[in-house]
């Protein structure tokens, strides 16, 4: 069981490789005879390809092939090319027909000896289309909203009601209706999607960029119609994903198809502008909140209606209303989800899908209601604190939100906040403070891990997980080491390759929860075997000592009450056949899934300075107080939360895809015009973890922390801007022109 609640801040095991440039990301891998693929993208959003003229391209030196619907290898498993049960299987565009469903859809690939030749070749492919009318996305779409077949998490209902909303609203002293708009966003991991594929007979190997090695392996095998054992997927380093590499998108097929076509290893790397469409996006939403409360601040009713956009060919629904169901003790509540179809690339999970846009709406509405009632926004939240999950009617496995509020408020100086908005001024700047609750559910899948205690006292750990940059590889070693009483550098890890035991995809903050539990359990199994070996061995100093009395410490097994009584793993193993002890454990949720509600919680506090004349917003201070069970590594965990909070800044103030509604084309598909925060946008930022012991949630005692950072930050900033300026903003991002408008 977890010994420390906040784990050692050890450096990443791959730190040296990352800072010296020796870390090989997928696009850095070389193969003899490697050739290069460059995609050709559609320039219309809806229609059919009439002609695809490759004459000029094929005249260039070095061109090996132009792959398109006219000559692409046919895929045996195309009947599986539909929207899957899980969020990660989406409909792909892999040159099996001549249909175009969105602008900037891949329609051909030029394969050439050098990258330069392929780029030039791609620029010379001439395409004509028969076009159809374009369905633009939100907010301009006038299409009929549809009810989605499901939400991405299978156990989330699409629509819910509890109590009697009408009655609740009638009983309210104060009511509020507000509509919130969030834009389409693109993940834009700094590493472009890359896939290097080669065939050896019917065996395919791919060095690729994926957040889910085993899901990717299965999906590729299924679409090719071949056994998954014939596909090997390797992701040694991943340059960020944020969801865009969680789904297996079209390039995963196009790369190996091209390798098959030309009979050589093909490297396909997306250009930055290709990452605005074919590799997913956060859906734009329009959300309407209704809130009713009594004069003394009890919520009486709430509704949260979400309209999102999805692609014309798929059914992903941004689940924005799910947190509203469980965050506050509100007796009467209804939530609905609908989508409209548009000629856009597939919408998909992006860091905190649903929670990020949904909690923006919820926590802004809560703030506005508190203001209406003239109650401090933090007090208002405390008044409606949910002791149990009001949606599932179950206790929480743990919930330390009160402590987060309290410690955050103290540390941030919340008591100094002016009662009135627009009351604090510093020169040209209006200064304001805002806060919001942040929350993220615990999502646990299935993972297998193998732990082997070697006769030299070191440990080998193998699990087919990937490390998105979050520190997974480092903390897996820490978890195994902790159980076995070793130091993490005595553990070597085999991961990042589908040849290792199958592990869950890294999305929905699942990795440490799931794979970390598998590692913990496998290590516990090994420890149990070692203890048994000791107490059954007449020659061991621990002979006949009760199992519970034995603990692992510093490479030894010893008696808890008399630490001198004990022996090292090496001497124990040596005497007992000199063979390693090994355990392989498949780990998944148990009864707790039915008996408890499990989420991480936190509070985000923000101070902004808004230039009254210029509308420029500077975030002068940000603090996140997070309770997420055991924290395995204080250093990497902090980076996760800070990174998430900066994503909150980005969503609140910077990021949006500008859509030309005439042709449904993104107008800013590059990092100059699609703004994400740079260093100078971030000042004083901090994250603090609250001690939280949770023995129910899972064997590792952890909750995910990849997404909780962004969730509450967006609304905390919007609320701080209101407090600074006295004006509410309902439409993200809150850019300069909105502030001076």
């Amino acid at each position: 069981m977890a010994k420390k609640l906040i784990g050692d801040p050890i450096d990443r095991i791959d730190g040296t490789q990352k800072v010296t440039g020796s870390a090989r990301y997928s696009a850095d891998v070389k193969r003899p005879g490697l050739v290069h693929g460059v995609l050709v993208m559609s320039t219309v959003a809806n229609g059919t390809i009439q002609t695809l003229d490759t004459t000029e391209t094929l005249r260039l030196p070095g061109i090996l092939a132009v792959m398109s619907h006219t000559n692409a290898p046919k895929l045996g498993g195309m009947d599986k090319n539909k929207s899957g049960e899980t969020a990660s299987d989406r409909v792909l565009h892999v040159f099996q027909d001549n249909l175009v469903h969105y602008n900037n859809q891949p329609i051909a690939m030029v394969i050439a000896d050098t990258f330069e030749q392929a780029v030039e070749g791609a620029s010379l492919v001439r395409v004509t289309y028969a076009t159809e009318p374009v369905k633009p996305g939100l907010p301009t779409s006038t299409d009929k909203p549809l009810t989605p077949p499901r939400l991405p998490r299978v156990d989330d209902q699409v629509d819910t009601t509890r109590g009697d909303v009408k009655k609740g609203m009638a009983g309210a002293a104060s009511t509020l209706e507000a509509t919130y708009k969030t834009p389409t966003q693109f993940h834009n991991a700094l590493e472009p999607h890359a896939v290097l594929s080669f065939w050896e007979g019917d065996k395919l190997t791919m060095y690729t960029t994926t957040q889910g090695i085993s899901g990717y392996q299965k999906r590729v095998a299924e679409l090719f119609g071949m056994p998954k054992e014939n596909v090997r997927v390797i992701t040694q380093y991943l340059g960020g994903g944020f969801g865009s590499k969680g789904t297996t998108f079209s390039q995963a097929m196009l790369g190996p198809m091209a390798a098959k076509l030309v009979g050589k290893p093909v490297k396909l790397v997306l250009k930055r502008e290709h990452m605005f469409g074919m590799v997913g996006s956060r859906s734009a939403t329009v959300q309407t909140m209704n809130v009713g409360a009594t004069a003394d601040g009890q919520l009486t009713a709430m509704t949260h209606d979400t309209l999102a956009q999805t692609s014309a060919f798929d059914e992903f629904m941004e689940p924005a209303g799910t947190i509203t169901r469980m965050l506050y003790a509100c007796p009467n509540l209804a939530t609905t989800h609908k989508f409209i179809k548009a000629n856009v690339g597939s919408t998909s999970p992006m860091r905190a899908p649903g929670e990020a846009p949904g909690v923006f709406a919820l926590e802004c509405a809560i703030d506005e209601m508190a203001d209406k009632l003239k109650i401090d926004p933090l007090q208002f939240r405390l008044k409606n604190y949910a002791e149990e999950d009001p949606h599932r009617n179950r206790p929480f496995s743990s919930k330390s939100l009160r402590e987060c509020y309290q410690q955050g408020a103290d540390q941030f100086g919340w008591s100094k906040r002016a009662k009135q908005p627009r009351a604090t001024r510093d020169g040209n700047y209006l200064v304001g403070m805002g806060m919001a609750t942040t929350v993220y559910p615990v999502n646990r899948g299935e993972s297998t891990a193998m732990v082997r205690l070697n006769t030299d006292g070191t440990v080998r750990l193998e699990t087919g997980t990937q490390d998105l940059g979050t520190g997974t590889f480092t903390i897996m070693n820490q978890l195994a080491a902790e159980v076995l009483g070793l130091s993490p550098d005595q553990v070597t890890l085999g991961a990042g390759d589908s040849k290792y035991p199958e592990a869950v995809g890294s999305g929905g903050s699942r990795t440490t929860v799931t794979t970390g539990s598998a590692v913990t359990q496998a290590a516990q199994e090994v420890l149990k075997k070692a203890k048994k070996m000791a107490y059954s061995d007449k020659k061991s100093p621990l002979y006949a000592v009760a199992e519970a009395e034995i603990e692992a410490k510093n490479g030894r097994l010893e008696s808890k009450s008399d630490p001198k009584k004990g022996e090292s793993f090496t001497s124990l193993l040596k005497r007992n056949g000199n063979k390693p002890i090994e355990a392989t454990t498949l780990s998944k949720s148990g009864a707790e899934k039915e008996t408890h509600s499990m989420s991480a919680f936190g509070a985000i506090f923000v101070e902004v300075r808004v230039d009254e004349a210029l509308g420029e917003v500077r975030i002068s201070r940000m603090l996140g107080n997070i309770a997420a069970g055991k924290i395995v590594n204080a250093k990497t965990a902090k980076s996760q939360i800070l990174g998430g909070m900066v994503w909150g800044v980005s969503m609140a103030l910077h990021e949006y895809a500008a859509l030309d509604t005439r042709n449904a084309r993104i107008m800013n598909p590059n990092l100059a015009e699609y703004h994400v925060p740079v260093n100078a946008d971030i000042r004083d930022i901090d994250a603090i973890f609250i001690d939280e012991a949770d023995e129910t949630v899972n064997p590792a005692g952890v909750k995910g922390i990849g997404e909780i950072g962004i969730v509450g930050t967006v609304s905390a900033i919007a609320n701080a801007i209101y407090h600074a300026t006295g004006k509410r903003h309902y439409d993200l991002p809150i850019t300069v022109e909105k502030l001076i408008g």
Binding site: P61, P677, I685
Partner: protein, 208 residues
């Protein structure tokens, strides 16, 4: 597939590193990579293939003679021709800073430069920063210590920019560091760690 052909995560720092370097050696020997073989300064002058130019580049204190097309960027020559893949391509348009190298000491976006135009200048990439194989440059060590990264993809560029601004005297306060480092996007948003790492090295006053 032979184990040595792959790049596998294999263990704690040291063992992983060894494994990786041996994998790398294996690959460098494989045709048709030019890589180390192109370093030889003794190469006989030949007429380059049509459309190509024979050029000489000085990279990390080594001389490389290589035939390139005039349209090849310095970034692609480093990555695709010389197997110096530490320098990353995040955008290919001068917008992200992932490809930052030093050209005659100045931080420069290698994706915006044509290799043919930078002969006889001193080019330094992330691979050329550490004083030796077993020793990190102080800023590399500081990035590890302060967790100035997550995925590490922007990191080579961040470190090259960071070293340049320390040398140029633009790292005297957190705000100055933030301003001067704003040409390097970190989508993981490790900005706080980056500022702390650069600030700590600048304060120690070591020659970087």
């Amino acid at each position: 597939m032979a184990e040595k052909d792959t790049y596998l995560i294999d263990g704690s720092n040291r063992r992983w590193f060894l494994k990786q370097s041996s994998a790398l050696t294996g690959l460098l020997l494989a045709p048709p990579l030019v890589a180390t073989s192109a370093q030889s300064t003794q190469r006989q002058p030949t007429v380059p293939p049509s459309g190509k130019r024979a050029i000489t580049l000085r990279i990390n204190k080594k001389t490389y003679k290589i035939d390139v097309e005039p349209r090849e960027t310095l970034l692609d020559v480093l990555r695709e021709r010389l197997d110096l893949t530490g320098t990353k391509k995040g955008c290919d348009h001068g917008q992200c800073g992932a490809c930052t190298v030093h050209v005659d000491g100045r931080q420069s976006n290698a994706c915006l430069m044509l290799a043919v135009m930078h002969q006889h200048q001193e080019i330094t990439t992330i691979e050329g920063l550490a004083p030796s194989k077993s020793q990190l440059h102080p800023l590399q060590a500081a990035f590890v210590k302060h967790d100035g990264y997550q995925c590490g993809f922007c990191t080579p560029g961040q470190i090259m920019s960071g070293v340049a601004i320390i040398r140029q005297g633009h790292a005297n306060s957190p705000d100055e560091i933030r301003e001067w480092m704003s040409g390097n996007i970190c989508r993981c948003a490790a900005y706080r760690g980056i500022v702390e790492a650069i600030g700590s090295v600048q304060k120690e006053g070591k020659t970087v």
